[in-house]
């Protein structure tokens, strides 16, 4: 889960990381008032959860409160990469001498957190990694021991930070580690961490991703979820415990299991169709879950056919078939559906569906081909 820059910076500040004076606003008048409080030059930053805000004009410098108001109004009326700007952050402008990158993320291969830093701050770290990987200093952190002082120092030395800033940098590194740890973050990033012309270190921008699996111990974060960042159907699906991701195609997919759901999409594509979504209904396949899933798929107007692919393992296919029939009776979709049931009691399941006049398939490939044909109007 992503949280906004202003939220990340508030967390950083709690851990002693210096951030610019500033506040969040949702109207131009508020922005003007904050600019007055901050006494002069401010930076106005769109709070949207996509990269490239700056290029899109979502970050602007205002030299006095009236300009702040005008620019705020302008930014608040924008959409950036499809996301409306609902909030803006008004920060005191800083005089920047140097820009540094400092972040902590999970290194899956090493199975450890890794702290990364680069003297090339202000640029996305993936960009630096691609162009000048030698400029990135990495240290792996022992998950049982935490960040050691000497590691933070090695990072400071590695990016050739002037020695007079080591002490502050090490304190910031420790703050970032503690923020990452306590927040169950999968990414905690300061970019840029700047040295100002009056020789202070300051976290000008902040980004945090929170582990969805850990939200049970962070109810405060769960409330921070910005629903603008996901399709409304994704939000809806989450309520039913369904894992749904909207795509651009026209064949709705309803599958049990994440790997099989991805595979179903892949086979549709392989047969020259386009999946409309990823949807994993999880273990079992109760009538309620199938019903909820079908409803969500049908709300996507692009959908021209549905492929329902269930591997009956522990759950028996005849039970699943009954679930499907009962769901269909409730919804009565008016688009073609192909159903594939495999595994335990698949034969019985298929008979139940056939009597309900469903298109059925035995193999994955057959199911995909039938769905593609149905979406193209081949079967009506």
């Amino acid at each position: 889960m992503k949280i906004h820059e202003y939220q990340a910076k508030q967390i950083f500040s709690h851990y002693g990381i210096p951030i610019p004076k500033g506040r969040v606003a949702s109207s131009a008048d508020e922005a003007k008032q904050i600019a007055e409080e901050l006494g002069g030059k401010v930076v106005i930053k769109a709070q949207v959860l996509v990269g490239g805000r700056g290029k899109a004009g979502g970050i602007r410098l205002a030299k006095h409160p009236n300009e702040a108001r005008d620019l705020a109004a302008q930014i608040l009326s924008m959409e950036i990469k499809g996301l409306p700007v609902r909030k803006i952050l008004i920060d005191e402008a800083a005089n920047i001498e140097t820009e540094i990158y400092l972040g902590i993320t999970n290194d899956r291969s090493a199975r450890k957190p890794v702290m990364m830093s680069s003297a090339a701050g202000g640029v996305e770290i993936e960009e630096v990694a691609r162009l000048t990987p030698e400029k990135i200093i990495k240290v792996h952190i022992d998950p049982l021991l935490g960040l050691r002082d000497y590691q933070a120092r090695d990072v400071a030395a590695g990016i050739d930070l002037p020695r007079e800033h080591w002490k502050s940098f090490i304190a910031i590194a420790h703050g970032l580690w503690q923020a990452y740890l306590d927040s169950d973050a999968t990414l905690a990033e300061i970019n840029p961490l700047v040295i100002t012309s009056d020789e202070r270190l300051l976290a000008l921008d902040g980004k945090m991703l929170i582990d969805d699996n850990a939200l049970f111990r962070h109810t405060d974060f769960a409330e921070m979820r910005d629903l603008d960042t996901e399709a409304p159907l994704e939000t809806e699906a989450r309520k039913y415990g369904l894992s749904y991701i909207k795509l651009e195609g026209d064949i709705g997919c309803l599958v049990n299991g994440a790997g099989l759901a991805m595979t179903t999409m892949d086979i549709i594509k392989l047969n020259h169709g386009e999946p409309a979504n990823f949807l994993d209904i999880g273990g079992g396949a109760s009538a309620e879950k199938v019903t909820a899933a079908l409803k969500i798929i049908l709300r996507d107007e692009n959908v021209k056919a549905i492929l329902l692919n269930v591997f009956g393992g522990i759950t028996r296919c005849d039970e699943v078939a009954h679930g499907i029939v009962s769901a269909l009776n409730e919804i009565k979709p008016n688009i073609p559906m192909v159903t594939r049931l495999v595994g335990t009691n698949a034969e019985e399941g298929r008979e139940i569906l056939a009597s309900a006049q469903m298109m059925t398939a035995q193999t994955l490939v057959e199911a995909a081909q039938k769905a593609v044909m149905a979406a193209k109007g081949g079967i009506a």
């Binding site: 999968t186 699996n213 892949d266 994955l364």
Partner: protein
């Protein structure tokens, strides 16, 4: 022969008194798995499954009483890491964690700890293991696979069942099927299982089922190239998955430009691994 589980497996079920615990314990017992005890804190002294299986309050006591060597975990995510630590501290040699939804930082601590221990963890967020005809420790349906000489290792659940079922339809049997789980950090990775299959005289060919996210498949490709003599056939799910989106599994995400199916397939084909276009093609590549 098989790897990790066989007729010598003496299993404790952690969280046996929950719905899932009791259901799958029954399934495992019907399959012939030697379930020797269950553990549910606070329910020590009870007997479950028609009075056949004793329940203990702690792993330590259960292991002392039964000489178990394997455990399977069916407890909710917020308690699951503690169950892993408890099993490891009770010197269980194979711990299988079915639980989905464990925070990734918890798993980093678990790995940091287990790396000092003798215990192997399989999972979490996995369907467990099946050595057809011998033992089942997990939730893989027993009837979809027959004994044989193909080793199967997979990050997925039902997709694995598809593959096992496709093999069975083609009269191909399996030595052991290991579901390593769909989380970004797990206890056992492809390389661990590949090396065990390489060392198992009854496994002749291997099926490796990967998916998007991370670079376990790429590292496995390197390992196959340098260390494996047995043929490996693979399938990678998620070729049509968009970047930046978590595809159901916590670990199935293309991020920062890495973890795509394309890269993985490329890496595997580079070292001579045949990669199937879809699961039903796998039997024909073996």
């Amino acid at each position: 022969m098989s790897i990790l589980i066989d007729r010598e497996t003496r299993l404790i079920v952690q969280g046996i008194t929950g719905n899932e615990g009791i259901f799958h314990t029954r399934q495992m017992m019907s399959y012939g798995t030697n379930v020797v005890a269950g553990v549910t804190p606070g329910k020590g002294g009870e007997w479950v499954l028609d009075g056949k299986i004793p329940v203990f309050d702690s792993m330590k006591i259960a292991v002392e009483a039964t000489g178990a060597n394997t455990s399977i975990i069916f407890v909710p995510a917020r308690f699951a890491t503690d169950a892993v630590f408890e099993a490891a501290d009770a010197d269980i040699s194979l711990i299988v964690c079915i639980t989905e939804g464990i925070p990734v930082q918890d798993m980093m601590r678990v790995r940091g700890y287990l790396d000092q221990k003798q215990s192997r963890l399989v999972g979490p967020n996995c369907p467990g293991l099946l050595s057809p005809g011998k033992s089942k420790v997990g939730i893989i349906p027993g009837n979809i696979s027959i004994p044989g000489n193909i080793g199967v290792v997979s990050r997925s659940g039902t997709l694995t069942y598809e593959v096992l079922y496709a093999l069975k339809l083609n009269h191909l049997g399996v030595s052991t099927c290991v579901g390593i789980g769909g989380d970004p950090i797990n206890g056992t990775d492809f390389i661990d299982v590949l090396s065990m299959f390489e060392g198992d005289p009854h496994t002749e060919k291997i099926v490796m089922i990967g998916e998007i996210g991370g670079n376990d498949e790429e590292r496995a490709a390197e390992y196959i190239s340098s260390k494996m003599t047995k043929p490996v056939v693979s399938f990678i799910a998620g070729q049509t998955a968009p970047p930046g989106k978590r595809m159901g599994h916590a670990g199935a995400i293309i991020e920062g430009g890495s973890g795509s199916a394309k890269d993985k397939i490329h890496a595997l084909e580079e070292v001579g691994v045949k990669v199937a276009h879809h699961p039903e093609e796998i039997p024909h590549l073996l």
